[in-house]
């Protein structure tokens, strides 16, 4: 695995040829039928989902969409979902639960969209609901971060039994740009922020947030999309094998504990500190 800094990886995942879910889905899954809409408000182009087969097994795929050009980016709002996107994702997850299909979430967003309409339609509530419902969803859930995993907008689709990251992907509490802007009031210090935030797949393995790292071809996924898709596919196969043999109660307990253990604190501090 290559030894790159976080900001070097940021360059790789922002490469204009970086494959997106539109490239990967046809290479990894068969018979994909896309489903639209949240049944309340509308259909969000930033999240696509549907039913398909993975090596013969019916699964539900829910994916955050980034555009490969301006036209696609307009349709998917540059990969930044609105509340109806998360509500669609949740609807499809509940559908998967009903029909006992595992859920594969493909995460790739700089964050949930920040706008007037998103606030009015309850961006916070939509993410909160998604997190809570995924925590108790009675079917296996595998999440894979393909490029950017930005904040609550990524977490809403990353409450899962196993979290994997592509080798160059990042996952962070806020986008590096946002971080620089909040802490130093200077968004242009993004690269500097990147390197202190601990956001690479390796960092997150150490912090017990990421469970597996999926390797990318030399130089990044854009150099060989087919190979990357095959690596992702191999990972999904193994992860499903691990999770499908567990009972649902055991699975849900393990999912709860996967998040329960994250935190760094000390107890019984002396009264003076």
């Amino acid at each position: 695995m290559s030894n790159l800094t976080a900001s070097q990886r940021l360059d790789i995942i922002r490469h204009k040829g970086r494959p997106t879910v539109r490239d990967y889905i046809p290479l990894i899954f068969e018979d994909f039928y896309e489903m639209h809409g949240d049944r309340y408000y509308g259909d969000d182009g930033a999240i696509m989902g549907g039913v398909c087969r993975f090596k013969g097994l019916p699964v539900t795929v829910i994916a955050q969409v980034k555009g490969r050009n301006l036209e696609e980016n307009k349709e998917c709002n540059f990969g930044m979902p609105h509340p109806e996107g998360y509500r669609k994702a949740l609807r499809l997850a509940k559908q998967a639960e009903k029909f006992h299909r595992p859920v594969i979430c493909l995460v790739d967003t700089s964050g949930a969209f920040c706008g007037v309409e998103a606030e009015k339609r309850g961006q916070g509530e939509a993410i909160a609901r998604s997190i809570m419902e995924f925590m108790t969803l009675r079917t296996p859930v595998i999440s894979i971060i393909l490029g950017e995993g930005g904040s609550g907008g990524a977490l809403a689709m990353a409450v899962c039994d196993e979290l994997a990251m592509l080798e160059n992907a990042i996952y962070s509490v806020i986008s590096p740009r946002g971080f620089a802007s909040i802490l130093w009031k200077d968004a242009s210090r993004e690269r500097e922020a990147c390197d202190i935030m601990k956001i690479t797949a390796e960092d997150l393995r150490r912090l017990k947030v990421c469970d597996y790292i999926i390797s990318e071809p030399a130089g990044g996924a854009h150099n060989d999309c087919d190979q990357t898709a095959e690596n992702i596919s191999d990972y999904i196969y193994e992860a499903l094998q691990r999770k499908l043999k567990k009972g649902l109660d055991e699975l849900l307990n393990e999912r709860y504990n996967k998040f329960r253990i994250v935190g760094d604190f000390q107890e019984n501090s002396s009264p003076s500190i």
Binding site: G124, A128, E133, K198, I199, F259, G263, N268, I273
Partner: protein, 293 residues
Amino acid sequence: MLEDLFSVVKTRFNGTESKPEAVKKSKTDIPKGLLFKCPRCASVTFMEDFQNNGKVCPNCNYHSRLTAKERLDITIDKDSLEEFDADMISKNPIDFPDYEEKQKSLREKTGLKDAVITGRAKIRGEDIVIIVMDSNFMMASMGSVVGEKITRAFEYATANKLPVIAFTASGGARMQEGIVSLMQMAKTSGAVARHSQAGLLYITVMTDPTTGGVTASFASLGDIIIAEPKVLIGFAGRRVIEGTIKQKLPDEFQSAEFMLEAGFVDMIVERKKMRRTLAHLLKLHNNKEGGTL
């Protein structure tokens, strides 16, 4: 902050911009804490009147921030708090520069160990688990301690079949704890899910300000969501949205009233009626009187 305020007041009276030296001088001339300037309507009141009014702006009814201790004093039965995890403090999960020092100085300044107090208490005799966030500690951002204490509070409530009342206030995630902060959203929401599945009541009271990762996790998951008048409630920061849309947002955007209209708050309750309202809602849900048709 108050020094700034005096300079503003002075500027208004004089009708001219005061020079930095003049501002400095006013610091020594006027006693600290004499006036309160409302961040919502900008009206200026004597601090004493403002405090006698329960820290509510007498002009516009903005319910300003309370410390966790002040909140507990006006909410729960006297001496009923059995505090949980009072000595828990955060470490430095991503080795963020100067984070330990920052926490240490805030602990000294505020007397708080972190941004939340949790415990078992009573409201008009009703047993509850209470969670109170305090914005004086790093704007009540959610790091390891906030996440762990809230999770434990819900787990205790589930094990002991108790309702939970959470007074939320937060600027959102704690940047200094990076991804570990983000994971607290999942951890707390998981504990809320288990409490909910056990058929137990959870009431959220959103206070100023409830934003970011706290809005996008346990704060939005109450069976009943109450807000105090005029408080700020939202997901994204106002400046972030203004930056996106390149225009100024109206004042009422992301207020409690705005969120009520949008359908994300059940009711807006004034501070002086809060204890009574909570007690009534608790009684309605446990029906100890055994009310029947």
